[in-house]
Point group: C2
Chain length 616, copies 2
């Protein structure tokens, strides 16, 4: 295998297509407050240069991180060789502070810039990307809900890469059930809190990349209510921070162990023991106790979009690796000569089933990119609308889409990432199963994405239990109306018409399913909801992805028509059309089948007695 085959690959043409042709950020965002300083040249430079960082710095460490992993020695976690140097370079280059506020040393870029940086970092090195990803989330949370002193102290240092950050929710007895957390906080005379408890599965819970690590810890103050409502959020540094901002003595945060995992071995997953020696001090985030869960959600929503981008990045890298392999690997004759054993061998890209697998991956990757970047664009449109003042309806619309789409992209991008990696391995055949090629690692790394930051079932319950009925259902109605308008406008499209009509049918099935779900809530049939939630989320994601792909194909068709002969974009635009047709034809009929299944209201999983699962 050549070195080149293990190199991280990204499709920058597609990234630019989404930014400038599908979302048209040059019209909607660039040059407008609060992004007045950002123009197309700046965005273009980021696309190019972040890719260079991913290929040259983060990517070459991906397999090393997997093979060497992290180690715990004398209570200190050491990251794999090269991670520290990559960290320094990352912050020198400023890629993690693009979207941070200027007051914290950031550059005030649109969130879309963050999205493309995250895709590149996660795609090239999923484990490495988690350390700065969490630091960024902590900084943003403290910027949003911290006291003025906290805003002054923490975000700048976190955005500069001087300190790391973590989010500490999970406990041994409480995974998805965050409200069962037992870690407790005791008020101290000076206004600080003594923290005591154990947190598990803490990504980047300790490392050697920074002089200090800022843990955000959910804990219960004595006497607080049970459940999530009684949780408060605390800043708990690894080393105590002096009045001058310097990191001093240990704050009694001990790493109990690090986990041995299926993948993301370069990311240290820690058990953290707070206050074993009664010497762990925390600082309340903001000024109000018992508001921890809603504060943490500020970080979690961003983290969920981050995980969706991780899924996208890994899936895209897996697809492009498989594509390169399929172009280079010669095996078998063309199907038109299958009976002739002396026919010349062709690249496996020529085999119909290999093309089917590749187009399947392409459609999912590019559709998911359009969807997540679309979500990021909605976030940026909120900022633009707010800066422009007085357009409440526009702010509400874009905010509603962000809320509605967040669980969808988290769950769908991560489920599909694992699926795309599986298909990528299959494309390589036996070679894909070897550590000589990157796809088996992509597959292992991606499995966790469906679990952390809220399992994909939690995402589905968030969608159906909260988001569908939010604001009287306004975001859902707006989503369906956007699709309805697209279908009405393009149902007669010369190249895409039948598929656009199929989108309309699928969207109607989705609408019916949403009505049924809401009926279960109101009709006291609450047990049906979790049984159907995952399927509903998948249907909605598939409708959304089909829409984005068809919209992209429509735009590509217009662009292609005006190209000069021989322009290299001809093939690119043809590919957009193929992805849309493939996805619509091969996925949308399944949406209608899922609607039928959902309407049949199968309760078999809750009807059978516990003992009937197996007699073992």
């Amino acid at each position: 295998m050549s070195q080149a085959q293990n190199r991280y690959k990204a499709d920058l043409r597609d990234v630019r297509f989404v930014l400038f042709e599908l979302l048209r950020m040059q019209d909607t965002l660039l040059g407008k407050a609060p992004f007045a300083a950002w123009g197309r040249d700046e965005v273009d430079m980021v696309v190019t240069e972040v890719d260079r960082f991913a290929r040259e710095v983060a990517g070459p460490l991906n397999a090393i991180g997997d093979r060497v992993g992290c180690r715990l020695e004398n209570g200190q976690v050491f990251t794999p060789p090269g991670f520290k140097e990559a960290w320094v370079r990352l912050y020198q280059d400023g890629w993690k502070s693009l979207c941070a506020q200027e007051e914290h040393g950031g550059q005030g870029a649109p969130f879309l810039m963050h999205a493309l940086v995250e895709e590149a970092l996660a795609g090239s090195n999923s484990s490495f990307s988690m350390y700065p990803g969490l630091s960024y989330g902590v900084a943003e949370l403290l910027h949003a809900v911290g006291t003025p002193a906290q805003k002054a102290r923490y975000p700048r240092r976190l955005h500069a890469g001087e300190w790391g950050g973590t989010m500490c929710l999970t406990e041994p007895q409480a995974g998805s059930d965050v409200g069962a957390a037992k870690t407790h906080a005791t008020r101290l005379p000076d206004g600080s809190y003594a923290i005591r408890g154990t947190k598990i599965f803490i990504s980047g819970g300790d490392h050697d990349l920074t002089e200090n690590v800022i843990h955000l810890v959910l804990a219960r103050i004595a006497g607080a209510a049970p459940g999530t409502k009684g949780l408060s959020l605390f800043i708990v540094p690894k080393r105590r921070i002096g009045a001058d901002g310097s990191s001093g003595a240990s704050n009694d945060v001990a790493v109990g162990s690090i986990e041995h995992k299926m993948g993301i071995n370069g990311s240290a997953t820690c058990v953290l023991n707070f206050g074993e020696n009664d010497a762990c001090v925390g600082e309340l985030v903001g000024t109000v106790e018992h508001a921890g869960m809603s504060q943490m959600f500020k970080m979690m929503n961003g983290a969920r979009i981050g995980v969706a981008l991780q899924g996208l990045g890994v899936a895209s890298a897996a697809y492009l690796s498989a594509l390169e392999y399929a172009r280079e690997r010669k095996q078998g004759a063309h199907i038109s000569q299958w009976k002739d054993p002396s026919a010349p061998r062709v690249a496996i890209l020529q085999h119909p089933d290999v093309r089917r697998m590749l187009l399947d991956m392409k459609a999912r990757v590019e559709g998911i990119r359009a969807l997540i970047f679309g979500l990021a664009h909605h976030m940026d449109c909120v900022a633009v609308a707010l800066a422009a003042g007085n357009d409440d309806a526009k702010v509400a619309y874009h905010r509603g889409q962000v809320d509605l789409l967040t669980p969808i992209v988290k769950a769908y991008a991560t489920d599909q990432s694992f699926r795309v990696c599986e298909t990528a391995i299959q494309t390589y055949g036996g070679h894909g199963y070897l550590k000589d090629h990157p796809v088996e690692q992509y597959c292992r790394d991606s499995k966790i994405l469906a679990i952390y930051e809220g399992t994909n079932h939690i995402q589905a319950m968030d969608l159906v239990g909260r988001k569908l009925a939010q604001e009287g259902g306004a975001p859902l109605k707006a989503f369906l109306a956007d699709i309805g308008n697209f279908v009405a406008a393009h149902g007669q499209h010369a190249e895409l018409g039948p598929e656009v009509v199929a989108l309309g049918r699928a969207s109607e099935s989705l609408t019916g399913a949403a009505m049924r779900l809401l009926g279960w809530f109101h009709g006291g049939r609450i047990q049906m909801v979790p049984l159907a939630a995952n399927r509903f989320l998948e249907m909605m994601a598939e409708v959304a992805v089909a829409w984005k792909l068809l919209e992209s194909a429509h735009i590509a068709g217009l662009a292609k028509a005006s190209l000069a002969d021989g322009h290299p974009d001809h093939d690119f635009y043809t590919g957009k059309r193929a992805a849309a047709l493939y996805y619509a034809r091969n996925v949308l009929p399944g949406v209608e089948a899922k609607a039928k299944i959902l309407a049949a209201e199968d309760t078999s999983p809750i009807d059978l007695p516990d003992a009937a699962f197996a007699t073992v």
Copy 2:
């Protein structure tokens, strides 16, 4: 985690249900020639004792095999600690020779016994099971097509565990394209052949379990035709075998390297160099040159069923591990008390989505078991019909079903095995991603199953390109008629009626899809076939599994009606019904959707130009 949680688990009640209640082997096979010596007690003993071997001997080595792996030292492969002792015990106990011919030291048991042994071995230790699995296949092949001298020499030693065996097809430039093999054979004056060439991906290509390893090598004799028709099959021992049967000097078979893989790390995957020093001698299998491919297929069909059983074994173990975890792990309140944070924590088995995942796994595992064991039963029925003489129609029917079902079980059981393992990890949540629990290894181990012994696309092409039209379509017609008869008999079933009717609809969709596929062959639209083959195979497998589950549920219903109150089988039989209802309701609507997709004849993957996949 308790030790118990990592222990291999099997559902022997379900195994016995399939053997004695669904297939009724006591009526169809036991006590009849050629299985006259086998009665129900003997079968029962095998079920119990093989499970004990799996739990006590093979199972405890599964994680060790994964973590330690194999090593290559001075040209010799060493298997993980404990494998050698397990091997000795396996052959002492006689589990691998149950179905071998008595003339070779076997016990002439029905192939169904082999199936349940393979499920147990592969489920408890997939890597370990491959060494004896390949030895068995080599013995069976030589028994079937060897010369009298070869039959006398090899099978007995292989079945006794004295020698190992391998099948050597794949070469660096020729994976699925076996006909491109370059390894060549040169006739020597004494009637033997000098072998020279390199084979890759050779499972068990070398090991320390036996004094010798018997390689079956496909090679081309100078002047032979190109493609598979010019290949001959040779017996190439690792060490030359003297006239007295003793293993002597090296036969110039060198292990170039062993692969580092995503999983099955306890199975040595070797690069083998034959004749680097021009001192590798092979013996033609049988007496006819250029018959290698059809000879090898004798082994490959068995090997494909073996891989299906590997998928079943791993999937079953993953399911039962997840079930045990779900019973023990307490987290969250019951959904009926979801608003009350002080409600008691319940086992996660109580959560609807966890039950959905568990029932999904159960239905797939039990349906696939019924299907593969049904195939094994067809094989045994051939033997009984042949022994009884003069019933050509019965022999043809059962043989036809074996041929038809082999690619289906290989592909579906292995695709679903990976899917079940994914679901098992998701059931554990974050803990499933840790090496502390067995499911992440099951997932990694199972990915190769969709690739080796013919990728699942090759299985699909075998089904649609060979098996559908075989014997004028008689096996397919018989398969569809069997389902039609079941639907006609039970469409009004009190408990299963609507699901049986749905099976009938799905079966009609399948019939239409088969007609369409055959039309493409005859209509010169050959390129459509590989595009649709995988989907067609999946449809057919889903129809077959739904049928087997509904048939099982019907039988369970009758049995349950005659049980005394409080009999422990009540729950077991209820579980059979739940699995059937769940699968029919949640999978069969997808069969009809797939038929629609297939009918739409999407050619987008072959329509787009190569350069349109990506501009990278």
